[in-house]
Amino acid sequence: MMKHTTRQTKNTTGSNFSEQMLAYLHIHAHALFSSLGRIIRNAFTSIMTITVMAIAISLASGFYLFIANMQQLTGSIESTNQISLFLKSHVSDHSGKKLVDKIKQNAKVGEVILITKEQALKEFKAYSGFGDALDVLEKNPLPTVIQVLPKSSLDNIQAVESLMMAFNQLPQVDFAQLDMQWIQRLQSIMQIMQRGVFVLTLLLGFAVIVITGNSIRLELQNRQDEVLVAKLVGATHSFIQRPFLYTGFWLGLLSGMIAWLLVTVILLVLQGPIEKLSILYDGSFDISYFGFFDVISLLSLSSFLGVLGAWIVLHYQLQKIKPN
């Protein structure tokens, strides 16, 4: 039957394949632009819908960027699973150097750096802001520090900890400190936040689907007559739902673009304070904005969610519009 009718349609059109393709593309292009035209004509409603969607998307993507930036921050200090040995104050720089040579012979140790009292004072003056106050002191109060980087093969925390304990036993060492601990704490906090942002993103994505779905439902209600007449003159399901799916696409795409704009503006506002903070941390931190692929994925995801929301509503509501 299907074959019969399609053949008949082809015959009555009297057109070849390429003409049919052209007509098909025409229908798509028409649905694409007429749905955009409809969004623009109903500017007020559209702006409200798109704004709500954009806020949801910008929250999700903003948190995503926040996490990405935090990861960059923790990533840059990740390599410092180093052990700091604070030497007793009577230990001279010279015997400090000797100790360095001794430590270097340990098979578990990768790199060893000596920070003499003078170096420490210089750095402290430069970064702490207490430069003038330090000038008042007669004696340099800072100890000699040896920074020990364990071999990279030594990746479990117990091994690094036992190495630290061993250094703590050395007579010259006042105390040894493992820098990794606070980083690990930070990283577990980051993991919790990452999980939280993931859940939040799911929720906000769901919100985008629901918002699109609802506005498609309203539009379907407004255009009920049109749907009815189209059905009566032989429009297929896919023909009828096509413009609505494109509406969902536009809503998703436009709100994605506005979300991108919102997040960028927020980052620009935050850039000044963050740069100040960054200077206090050796200036090693740059804000990462959305990259090219981030933007592409953001826009495709938001458009996809828009289409999905529209599709779900059409799937259930279009059946209900029946001519009688």
């Binding site: 399609t6 059109t13 025409h26 009566l232 003159v233 032989g234 429009a235 399901h237 023909f239």
Partner: protein, 218 residues
């Protein structure tokens, strides 16, 4: 072309709308369907247009059993039909051109073909030059003729009209009926539901009379 074979339609809460209706409409034949209001005229047309499904019996359209048509095939069945309604069901926010073009647009015709055919159809119903008007700016008779143009643009084998003259005065009614007769003359099968008995008898075509869902005379 169209065959009803012991067709019944029962609505769960309104009882039998059609009861054991059988008739055969030959290709190129024109017939009127008449009867008191509520006799089942509209129901009969709805069964052909697949807006309803029969409870019993078979309807054969062009040799095809409508009981065996799936949901997905319904649009293709409807493309064989030209439907005309009492309230003409024109889209008020679309121009005459767009209204008439709709059946071709949904069937995926090329733009050139659509333009050519729409002008030809409007010419046939005497509305050439009104393509850019909106339905509400036209008179009742003109609106109904736009509806007819839309019904015939797909070159249907069968035209179904449900009270096409219901909202028109006698002069316009006769005009519309004679217009539909023109399509019969070129080989289209036409079935018109109407209770305007006076006009129908004047025209001298076959008359199917329904009484409480049963076919009395044909």
């Amino acid at each position: 072309m169209l065959k009803f074979d012991h067709v019944s339609k029962r609505y769960p809460d309104a009882g039998d709308a059609l009861l054991d209706v059988s008739f055969h409409l030959k290709s190129g034949e024109m017939a009127f369907l008449t009867g008191h209001s509520g006799a089942g005229k509209s129901t009969l047309l709805k069964l052909i247009a697949m807006m309803e499904l029969s409870s019993r019996g078979n309807i054969l359209l062009d040799g095809q059993n409508l009981n065996k048509v799936t949901e997905k095939q319904i649009p293709y069945i409807r493309r064989k039909l030209g439907l005309i309604f009492q309230d003409n069901k024109l889209l008020q926010d679309r121009t005459v051109f767009d209204n008439v073009a709709l059946p071709l647009v949904v069937s995926g015709y090329s733009y050139q073909e659509i333009g050519r055919r729409v002008r030809a159809a409007l010419d046939k119903v005497g509305l050439l030059g009104k393509e850019k008007k909106y339905p509400l700016t036209l008179s009742g008779g003109e609106q109904q003729r736009v509806g007819i143009a839309r019904a015939v643009i797909n070159k249907p084998r069968l035209i179904l009209a449900d009270e096409p003259t219901g909202n028109l005065d006698p002069v316009l009614s006769a005009e519309v009926m004679h217009l539909l007769e023109q399509f019969q003359k070129v080989g289209v099968t036409v079935l018109i539901a109407s209770h305007d008995v006076e006009l129908l008898t004047q025209m001298g075509h076959r008359i199917l009379t329904l009484d409480h869902g049963q076919l009395k005379a044909s």
